[in-house]
């Protein structure tokens, strides 16, 4: 088995694992970690595609490699934003699960004028 | 002085991949200048004169002690009986608080059997030791003497 195929399969497994975590963990931060696993699995798959496309003296197809770099940076930005949201939610509600029902205390709050 | 050092560091980063060009050097100078500026901002130079002889001796001792430290740990870990007697020890350090003391802490953390865990209210450095039966305090004192000497001698006593 070539290294590209091996890590491609690895990426597929990571996607599965991450999805499982995304479904089964109620905590937002755990979901975020799981999302990062899915993301790295997807990027690994992209990396396998890049590796398979090695040609013209390049160790891999540079186009997917560049896309992965873009993706990694975007994923980091997403993680940072989500972490800030989680921390704010923890401050405001004292919990970080995503159950829709409990924080229903907003019912009576007046709307922001706009 | 520091600038030259950083420029040297740049040179070694720019491994001669295809021969240095003038642009390479220019960027290197710029980078070194930036690094020096940052360094001076973060860590203002003190009134110390480096004593090269003492510094060399310090380096030699440091290298040697690193090896001893590694061997020491390896010996203890590989020994099936695991001969250690861990514990804490407070060492009344003479170097005043600041970067120099931090340097001393970093240095001694790589020495055999010692690991600084922080200061105590009396201004001493507290060490965690792998084996309290060893002559730790005297060894630390030698390190300190050498470091003080390398940094220009008595200016640092408290």
């Amino acid at each position: 088995m070539s290294d590209a195929t091996l890590f491609g399969l690895c990426g597929a497994a990571l996607v599965g694992l991450g999805l499982y975590g995304l479904i089964c963990h109620p905590g937002a931060l755990r979901k975020l970690l799981a999302f990062n696993l899915v993301g790295s699995g997807v990027f690994l798959l992209f990396g396998a595609v890049a590796r398979r496309g090695a040609a013209s003296g390049f160790g891999g197809d540079p186009v997917p490699q560049a896309l992965v770099i873009t993706g990694l940076v975007v994923a980091f930005a997403a993680t940072a934003l989500a972490v800030a949201l989680v921390v704010r939610l923890a401050q405001a509600a004292g919990r970080t699960d995503l159950d829709p029902e409990p924080p229903a205390r907003s019912e009576a709050t007046p709307e922001r004028p706009s | 002085m520091r600038g030259a050092g950083f420029f040297g560091f740049w040179l070694l980063l720019a491994r001669p991949a295809g021969g240095e060009s003038w642009a390479d050097l220019a960027v290197g100078l710029l980078a070194a200048a930036l690094a020096t500026w940052t360094s001076l901002r973060l860590l203002a130079p003190g009134a110390t004169r480096v004593r090269w002889g003492a510094l060399l001796r310090l380096i030699a001792r440091f290298l040697w002690q690193s090896i001893v430290a590694g061997l020491d740990v390896a010996r203890r870990v590989l020994d099936p009986r695991l001969p250690i007697r861990p514990g804490f020890l407070a060492y009344p350090v003479r170097i005043p608080d600041g970067p120099r003391r931090a340097a001393f802490g970093a240095l001694t953390s790589l020495m055999p059997g010692t690991l600084p865990v922080g200061g105590d209210p009396d201004g001493a450095l507290v060490y965690h030791c792998l084996d309290l039966d060893q002559p730790i305090a005297s060894s630390l004192a030698r390190d300190e003497d050498l470091l003080v000497a390398a940094q220009g001698g008595a200016a640092t006593g408290d």
């Binding site: - | 491994r15 203890r76 861990p86 865990v117 792998l130």
Partner: protein, 107 residues
Amino acid sequence: MSAVEISTVFTVFAVSLGSLFFLAGTLGLLRLPDTLTRLHALTKADNLGLGLIVLGLLPQVSSPLGWIGLIAVWLLALLAGATVGQLLAGALRPSDGTPPDRGGGSA
């Protein structure tokens, strides 16, 4: 023995020894009884291991600039290792503060 052979032998020796120190570090991490002692094993054995590997690699690098590069990695690793060791040790220090053995040490 030619210079090449000597350098080869040297590299093999130093790198092997360095790898063994990594093994020692790992064993320490696994065998030692508490976190602080494990920290000792980690900082000391690993840094020596890395140092030896760097030393062993020096003859294989043609340019002197490459040498300094390798050594720079080692020095930075030393700095990081020393800092991390102290930070973690400080964090792990028992909260009651002062150690039992005050003053002069146990020499």
